[in-house]
């Protein structure tokens, strides 16, 4: 991602690296975030995303590389002078201050006159949907309200970039779902650039304009949610983002990205992969549960490139996200298939024979690492 004009981006990282002793936490990250967008960094714990965020905030000094905000390097700017603010994992709302004092803290530091502070704090409270809550103690407000206060406390300072460090982690599921939508809405209203780190793919996919998937200190792929989901660039992304059935196998034939793979279980699968893959290469094969079509007879899946039959092992009912586990093939490997919501298969029961198939285009193959 090379920017054509540096100033068009709110935040840029160039070959950003951080190593601790002999451990490289962040390895040569290049990144450019356009103004006003919601950018997520998604990765498992320990992948270096927190270190990356802390470098942006200024709490960690990079080993090498550069960080630019609105085109200007901020490497030598201390955290309290950087035009970025951070929403901490546990929010870090100051317990000894009221809601209004928390939000006004940054303004007081800037020497804003007292009456202006009061006005801007109340404005911020209105914008996050908490008008008149300024006098409350932090301990008196709910988890969701705390989130909003934490965001208001940063946004009242009009930062160029807002950094968010998994702030939804501590919330219960219902509230988390709600806050996802809320956060996206707030970002849209304020128009501030958000950089959001999380290990929860659904948070990243739902809210973000673009997502970077990070693994072992590097970016595996940067793209829209759809890119990551439907066109994963690496085996890691394919495995990490969304659910997949996965096989290990050897390429039998290869023709400009159209592959036949013989899995270790002895199943032959038609798939697609990068053109460089040649016969004999070991690959990992990924198929999404919802890419698999079910049929009661062989005819129903005749058009599919890959066709198999087996017996229902179990039905995992979970409303719209219900699944069927099917045992198939000589090895009786379990395959995870999404249950269509048409009602056609609602009577499936364990032990019933079933046919299923999927297209080769939705079968992604990566060289096994």
């Amino acid at each position: 991602m090379t920017p054509e004009s540096p100033v068009a981006y709110d935040l840029e990282c160039r070959s950003l690296t951080k190593s601790f002793d002999d451990f490289v936490a962040v390895q040569s990250i290049d990144l450019a975030i356009p103004a006003g967008s919601f950018f997520s960094i998604l990765g498992p714990s320990g992948c270096g995303k927190t270190t990356l965020l802390r470098m942006m905030a200024g709490f960690v000094r990079p080993t090498s590389g550069d960080i630019l905000i609105k085109g200007r390097s901020v490497l030598d700017v201390p955290p309290n002078k950087r035009p970025v603010n951070m929403v901490f994992q546990h929010l870090a709302l100051f317990p000894m201050m009221s809601v209004a004092e928390n939000i006004g803290y940054g303004l007081r530091r800037r020497g804003v006159p007292r009456e202006d502070i009061a006005r801007r704090v109340e404005e911020a409270l209105v914008r996050v949907g908490l008008p008149g809550s300024g006098g409350k103690r932090i301990s008196q407000i709910s988890g969701g309200q705390k989130q909003r206060v934490a965001i208001a406390r940063c946004l009242v300072l009009d930062p160029d970039v807002l950094l968010l460090d998994e702030p939804l982690g501590a919330l219960d599921l219902k509230l988390r779902e709600h806050m996802k939508v809320e956060l996206k809405k707030l970002q849209h209203e304020f128009g501030t650039t958000f950089v959001y780190i999380t290990h929860d793919q659904s948070e990243a996919l739902v809210m973000s304009d673009r997502v970077a998937v990070m693994n072992a200190g590097r970016f595996e792929q940067v793209g829209t949610a759809q890119d990551l989901y439907y066109r994963p660039a690496t085996a890691f992304v394919a495995a990490f983002v969304g659910e997949s059935n996965k096989w290990r196998g050897k390429v039998e034939t290869a023709d400009a990205g159209r592959l036949t793979v013989l899995t270790e279980d002895g199943v032959r699968i038609a798939g697609s992969g990068e053109a460089a893959l040649a016969a004999g290469a070991t690959v990992d094969v990924f198929v999404r549960p919802e890419a698999v079509a079910l049929s009661r007879d062989a005819a129903g899946i005749a058009s599919m490139a890959n066709r198999m039959d087996g017996a229902v092992a179990s039905v995992l009912f979970n409303g719209a996200a219900s699944r069927v586990l099917i045992k198939a093939g000589a090895a009786q490997a379990e395959i995870d298939v999404a249950l269509p919501q048409t009602g056609e298969f609602n009577d499936l029961a364990p032990g019933q024979p079933i046919h299923f198939g999927w297209s080769d285009a939705q079968t992604t193959c990566f060289r096994a690492g």
């Binding site: 905030a57 200024g58 709490f59 201390p78 955290p79 309290n80 002078k81 970025v84 603010n85 951070m86 901490f88 994992q89 546990h90 870090a92 100051f94 317990p95 000894m96 201050m97 803290y105 940054g106 530091r109 800037r110 406390r153 940063c154 300072l157």
Partner: protein, 285 residues
């Protein structure tokens, strides 16, 4: 039934402890202090011993001086102890942290007497500090550092340090680093973060430490006498003198009681001034 018995049995040591070691001696002290000597072996009930405290300027002045010096020692201990505690709680890691803690603890491995004599060896006219200064050519003749208020201060601060550092480290450790980072992130400099975030959070520890150090200083006997010399004038010395050298237990008891009441008043005033309550402090600190 047996559960209630168990409860009372569990409670018994506390009751015995409070009763035997705290309440009964103080009642005894109070009764003794209300005896006014008329002539040998003849005593009368009265408040004469208390009146003596307020009418004799020496007693009153000695107490005021002791209280002021103790407050100063408390403030000094806080000023010296806070950065140390902050360093131990927030900056030091692993070994250096343990070593620092042990350094604070070290003075308590020897008795107060030995500790105080240690200072005397250092500070006396023919002592280590004076000799070193002469040897370095910084002073032309021997200097006496002992037998003044500054020496008392040094001794009190040194003796009290641990009692300030422990509660401070405990409260500072409970301050999540993210609060400090948030303080900086939102534009605060070191001073603002200290004043608005660290100190308000550490307040229970500060108050606990200050109460303990103040009480210890006020009740100290050896340090002011040995290091203060002819100007020491410590209130406990006055109590000792009444009990032991004057054989005036009645006056000594009255002084002991006044020390208890007046020091409690000072602590209460301190809590009022800082807007803290004892429950809050002891509960959290």
């Amino acid at each position: 039934m047996s559960r209630r018995l168990g409860f009372y049995l569990l409670l018994a040591p506390l009751v015995v402890w409070l009763g035997a070691l705290l309440i009964i001696p103080h009642i005894e002290l109070l009764l003794t202090s209300l005896q006014v000597k008329v002539k040998p072996r003849v005593y009368e009930f009265g408040f004469g011993n208390y009146a003596a405290f307020f009418t004799e300027p020496l007693y009153w002045n000695t107490f005021a001086r002791t209280a002021l010096m103790s407050i100063a020692a408390t403030a000094l201990t806080l000023i010296v102890g806070f950065p140390i505690s902050y360093y131990i709680a927030k900056l030091a890691r692993g070994r250096s942290r343990a070593i620092l803690f042990v350094l604070c603890l070290l003075p308590f491995w020897v008795s107060e007497l030995v500790r105080t004599f240690g200072w005397m060896i250092l500070l006396r006219e023919t002592g280590v500090v004076s000799n070193t200064l002469q040897w370095l050519g910084l002073s032309s003749g021997p200097i006496e550092f002992l037998y003044n208020d500054a020496a008392i201060m040094v001794g009190l601060v040194y003796t009290s340090m641990l009692f300030m550092v422990v509660p401070l480290v405990t409260t500072l450790e409970s301050l999540d680093d993210s609060y400090i980072e948030a303080g900086y992130d939102l534009g605060g400099n070191g001073f603002a973060v200290m004043r608005e975030i660290v100190i308000p959070h550490a307040m229970p520890g500060i108050v606990t430490g200050c109460i303990v150090v103040f009480m210890l200083s006020l009740g100290n006997y050896l340090t002011p006498i040995l290091l203060g010399g002819k100007d020491s004038l410590w209130f406990t010395e006055q109590i000792y003198a009444q009990f032991i050298t004057r054989f005036n237990w009645e006056q000594g008891s009255a002084f002991g009681f006044l020390l208890l009441v007046l020091s409690s008043l000072i602590v209460w005033a301190g809590l009022k001034l800082t807007g803290q309550t004892l429950g809050q402090t002891v509960g959290r600190g």
